[in-house]
């Protein structure tokens, strides 16, 4: 069975490294990025299944990373994990296609549940897209890949 790939993106290095270690202890393979540029580069190369993304970062911020990732790889599921949560932020990132929106600090077990749910969602959309592609309906397949 394919191993889920998670990308953690946060400019607080202590936070993201510790979170990474705890997720690995729970058998969630993951990589880390410390800024938006790095996150986009890793997404281009590795195509993670799930991205856990902070919003406020130097350089390219989380909203812009989400926008770029969803444009290029709509099937990547993005969970926003931020300490800067406003209703307007949540509304915007959900409109841009974020799978979930969580506030820091979050209990690790809750985060694991949400990551697994995001991965399940991605797999279901991918399988549905494959089924439509096989049935000769590429447009419907594309819609599923976009998460619609």
């Amino acid at each position: 069975m394919k191993q889920m790939k998670v990308l953690l993106v946060d400019d607080e290095e202590s936070f993201v490294k510790t979170l990474s270690e705890r997720l690995k202890m729970r058998d969630l393979h993951n990589e880390v990025a410390f800024d938006g540029e790095q996150a986009v580069t890793i997404a281009d190369g590795e195509e993670p299944d799930v991205m856990v993304l902070d919003l406020k970062m130097p350089g390219i911020d989380g909203v812009e990373v989400l926008r770029r990732v969803k444009q290029r790889y709509p099937h990547i599921q993005v969970i926003i994990l931020t300490g800067h949560g406003t209703d307007r932020d949540e509304e915007e990132v959900r409109r841009l296609g974020a799978f979930d929106y969580l506030q820091k600090p979050v209990p690790i077990d809750d985060l694991v549940v949400r990551i697994k749910a995001a991965y399940k969602n991605k797999m279901e959309l991918t399988m549905a897209a494959a089924a439509f592609a096989e049935a000769g309906e590429p447009e419907m397949a594309q819609e599923f890949l976009k998460g619609n």
Binding site: F15, T18, R22, M25, K56, P58, G83, H84, I108
Partner: protein
């Protein structure tokens, strides 16, 4: 610009600083949460055999202590910042007022990859004026740096005394790179200009020929202003 508009702009500034502080403290709490969680994970995994993980556990406990200190310091600044509003005019230390404002806007600077360095003259006199309005005006004066300077630049903020007045300088360091040429005089929006006027303060260009920044000169308000 009316008094009401100035009050609204001042409130918006307070809101922005509080939001930034809340974000900063959530980050500290998130790090404490993950570090404590990792210690818990390591303890439950290692059972009675802690030797293999003692170094990592020690590191996590140090990180927790460090973040508790930072959050505590930030909360202290917040408390002082909030109490600046208790009275519209009061006697205060400019160094303290500037120091707490720098602490509260450091995250904004970090987002732009800009450093803030400070150098405070401990001998400057206490002033009787509006500390909260000074913080509002100073914030408005600092904002242009974030569009003028390239990343990896440094803003040097210092205080000195000149007669009975206090000079607060903010200058780009010599190693800073300028993204766009600074306006002359220093760009000041209407609400900041009005706040400077209410403070009885004045703005000067830096003396260095290519200096990027400003000097704000502020004194105690005349006794007639003392309510």
């Amino acid at each position: 610009m009316t008094e009401d508009e100035l009050r609204l702009a001042h409130l918006a500034f307070i809101g922005r600083l509080l939001a930034g502080l809340s974000h900063e403290n959530k980050n500290h709490l998130a790090i404490i949460n993950e570090s404590a969680g990792l210690v818990q994970d390591l303890l439950s995994l290692s059972g009675k055999n802690l030797a293999g993980n003692s170094e990592k556990i020690g590191k996590m406990l140090n990180l927790i202590a460090e973040r508790v200190d930072k959050a505590n310091q930030m909360t202290r600044f917040l408390s002082r910042f909030a109490h600046r509003l208790d009275a519209s005019l009061s006697s205060f230390s400019v160094n303290e007022v500037v120091e707490e404002e720098v602490a509260l806007i450091e995250r904004l600077a970090r987002q732009q990859n800009i450093e803030i360095a400070t150098s405070f003259d401990p001998q400057i006199p206490a002033l009787y004026n509006s500390p909260s309005l000074l913080q509002f005006a100073f914030y408005g004066l600092l904002l242009p740096f974030f569009t003028l300077l390239d990343k990896n630049s440094t803003i040097v903020i210092s205080t000195t005394s000149a007669g009975g007045a206090v000079v607060i300088s903010a200058l780009a360091s010599a190693t800073s790179t300028i993204a766009s040429p600074p306006a002359s005089p220093w760009p000041v929006d209407d609400s900041t200009q009005m706040a400077i006027s209410r403070l009885g303060a004045s703005l000067q260009a830096p003396e260095t020929p290519f200096g990027v920044g400003f000097k704000l000169i502020i004194s105690s308000l005349a006794s007639s202003s003392r309510g």
